[in-house]
Amino acid sequence: MSVSKSSLILRRVTESRLFFPFVALALILLFDLVTVPGFFRIYTREGNLYGNLIDILRNGSTVSLLAIGMTLVIATRGVDLSVGAVMAIAASVAALLMNPYVLAKELPPHIMKFMTDPHFTYQPLWVVILVTLIVAAICGLWNGILVAYGKIQPMIATLILMIAGRGIAQLITNGVRIQIFYEPYAFIGQGWIVLPFSLYLVAIVFAVAWLLTRRTAIGMFIESVGTNSRSSFYSGIDEKKIKLLAYTFCGLCAGIAGLVESANIKTSDAFNMGQTKELDAILAVVIGGTLMSGGRFSLLASIVGAWVIQAITTSMYAIGVPAFALQAIKGVVVILVILLYSEQVRNLVQRLTVQKGA
């Protein structure tokens, strides 16, 4: 009796969507355990936790945020290539709202002295955040309109903003890289309350996304539209509104990621901000087991996917792979991770669990 029960649990674990992302993560950490002594050491400083594991979580938070929004978009059988550019737009908007004086040619001296003051901001923080997020959501809405109502292929539709977005971000700041000195803003990316502050943001956005999709019918509708849009239409589901929501939410997530990233590096770097982050986000979703062809999705699995990517990067640095070789190595590891997902490996795991059960 107990044997069959434990085998049943084993079956349920291996068939869960979270199983493979966690296995991938575990394998990478296992690698660290063997090759990097002290990799798992976590120490406290002023009551806050530090260490490689915390670094993985903290540095992975931008991609985690993007991956949450990207999951919904990919589940509708779409993709959003513009999230990196939207991060840049968000950073530019936020930086400009805090310090619009950088654009002026000449400034009176009494204002000049505020420029590097860590307590100075032109607009209050809540206005900065609110306006930035509204702008980011509008970017997402734009993508959604092109895809849902313009019926443009998602890859092409979002490519427009991917390319134009960086230009817009630079236009906003008139091509200037605005340095950010305002400390409360920097806290978003650099702050620590026992754990890094950005982790709490990830948790909040995840919770909101989860409630929005799993405590309402939206999640099922997204999966239905992504699996078979014609059947969904015949069943009375408004595919356009669902897509609009997914892209808008994705833009919003990109906006939050832009806040975190710019607060972390304390500058609005319209050119480099979020470069290739859209690809990491897509990869995170894929590692999380959501298919590019849409349908079933798991938000948590996508976040684990983001951690997997970050764990690869952090591990490579830890064993001393130089930065320029990182991308190539990352590619190899990604191939290995994707191999884990192959039918052969899945069947093998299933056979093993069935044998154990028998």
């Binding site: 019918a217 509708f221 239905s224 699996t227 078979n228 015949y234 009375g236």
Partner: protein, 505 residues
């Protein structure tokens, strides 16, 4: 010697899937140059047997002897090399490639390393001509009707492997009468060339029309193999469904009884309703408690009429009234709100959402009508799903099974359940029994009548005239995208056939 008579001998085939014994000790013998019908209800094991024969599945036990020699079929490709080739129910071709490309892809005639298009087109044309099909092979396949696509699939199957055995899996389920005849001509020609054909179908008429012998499977077991000429129709059906046929006769009794419930006032009324390119303006009334049958050939405008009533298409002429009020908003969502439901003809494309569970598929339309935020609780969802699984006799291990794992007939029932869950007043059923087995067909027909008895108005569309006759109180006939006539009361098949066929008949 045995091997002279049979091209294929399958002996004692066993195959189990987790939880199901799909085949147990099945023998199947195929003679050279015969047309052999393989029949049985859904889940009888027909597909599995074919999959074993074509190397898609490996048998747990048993032998396959091809042309006197035992073989182990390793893969579908290997099967093709052995001369066994299959044309599946759903056409597996590329609609955006030309007909010629579809036939010859992977084996294009080459000249100097590049494709010799002229030779390729000529070759494709010739192959098709062998099947009596004369079309422009340089046009994309998708432009042609399903029948031509089917012929193309057969042409490809014959071309790829110099086939000795051709397996046709439900080839006629989307063909109309003429197209079916054309296919049968091709089958007879191939037979005379010595090709042995395994013909899987749900249409009993066609079994008798074309086959030499019949093998019946039921629940994964062999019931028997019979000479077509020596087994009467009723006996065959009894063997297939393994239960008495009297219940089928009960139907006409139920129908007569239920006639009493028909209300005089029209629930839904179309006046001069039509849309260009779809269906010409027509008048139609649907009454509560009534089953209105819609007969006509494929392409006669049946589906378009249904789509118009359900708001998939918007009319450009006429008025549609629901309970005396004129309808202005045409969309599926608005229709669901009015109490109209449509089970679409194309179960795979427009019906099921295959990755979602049975439960989710059942509540989908109901939830859509409630909107995003009035989410049915899990408990309510299970209640609804379990109720309809029981009511419609849906064979599924649980409500959480992905609907793609169900057989065709059960998928159809899931879609029916989806619409019944919205508690519609008007239920439009477009080919609800296509591609499903005799038993499930009877169940669905009975269900339609009992729904009418409950006071729903049903529009029943089917290409099987017998079925329309059996279930409908009144029958409207479409021809060439026009409503031509309407019959009520007792009508004989012959008069309707004349109406369907039009002037020529």
């Amino acid at each position: 010697m045995m091997s002279d008579e049979y091209i294929i001998e399958m002996r004692g085939i066993d195959k189990a899937f987790p939880g199901v014994q799909a085949l147990s000790k099945v023998d199947f013998f195929l003679r050279r140059g015969e047309i052999h019908a393989l029949v049985g209800e859904n889940g009888a094991g027909k597909s599995t047997l074919i999959k074993v024969l074509t190397g898609v599945e490996k048998p747990d036990a048993g032998h396959i002897i091809l042309d006197g020699e035992e073989v182990r079929v390793r893969s579908p490709l290997h099967a093709q090399e052995l001369g066994i080739t299959t044309v599946y129910q759903e056409v597996n071709l590329c609609p955006n490639l030309t007909v010629a490309e579809n036939i010859l892809i992977g084996r294009e005639p080459k000249r100097l390393g590049s494709i010799n298009w002229k030779a390729m087109n000529a070759q494709a044309k010739e192959i098709l001509q062998r099947l009596d099909v004369n079309i422009d092979v340089t046009k994309p396949l998708g432009l042609y009707p399903v029948a031509i696509q089917q012929m193309t699939a057969i042409a490809r199957a014959l071309e790829v492997a110099s086939a000795r055995v051709l397996i046709l899996d439900e080839p006629t389920s989307s063909l109309d009468m003429h197209e079916t005849d054309q296919l049968f001509r091709v089958m007879r020609r191939l037979k005379s060339e010595g090709v042995a054909i395994i013909f899987i179908t749900h249409f009993i008429d066609q079994v008798y029309q074309i086959s030499d012998r019949i093998t019946v499977l039921r629940n994964g077991r062999l019931v028997g193999t019979f000479e077509t000429a020596s087994i009467p129709r009723l006996e065959l059906i009894a063997k297939m469904i393994g239960r008495s046929l009297t219940e089928l006769d009960e139907m006409s009794q139920i129908k007569l009884e239920s006639r009493k419930h028909i209300k005089g006032e029209a629930l839904m009324r179309a006046k001069g309703l039509g849309f260009t390119g779809g269906i010409e303006p027509f008048d139609l009334e649907l009454h509560a408690g009534e089953v209105l049958g819609l007969a006509g050939l494929l392409g006669s405008g049946r589906t378009e009429l249904a789509q118009l009533l359900f708001g998939i298409e918007k009319p450009d002429s006429g008025v549609l009234e629901m309970e005396g009020e004129e309808i202005t908003r045409f969309s599926p969502l608005a229709s669901i709100g009015r109490g109209v439901a449509l089970c679409p003809e194309d179960r795979k494309e427009a019906g099921i959402v295959d990755d979602l569970t049975v439960r989710e598929n059942i509540i989908l339309a109901l939830q859509a009508s409630r909107g995003w935020f009035k989410y049915l609780s899990k408990q309510q969802q299970y209640e609804i799903a379990d109720r309809y699984i029981k009511l419609l006799n849906i064979a599924t291990p649980s409500a959480d099974q992905p609907v793609k794992n169900l057989s065709g007939g059960n998928q159809q029932k899931v879609i029916l359940a989806r619409w019944l869950a919205t508690n519609p007043k008007v239920l439009i059923l477009d080919e609800p029994t296509r591609g499903i087995d005799v038993g499930a067909k009877a169940e669905i027909q009975r269900l339609v009548l009992s729904l009418a008895e409950e006071g729903k108005a049903c529009l029943f569309i089917s290409s099987e005239l017998e079925e329309v006759l059996r279930t409908s109180h009144r029958i409207a006939v479409l021809r060439d995208r026009k409503k031509v006539t309407e019959f009520s009361g007792e009508v004989d098949e012959h008069r309707i056939m004349q109406a369907i066929a039009g002037g020529e008949a």
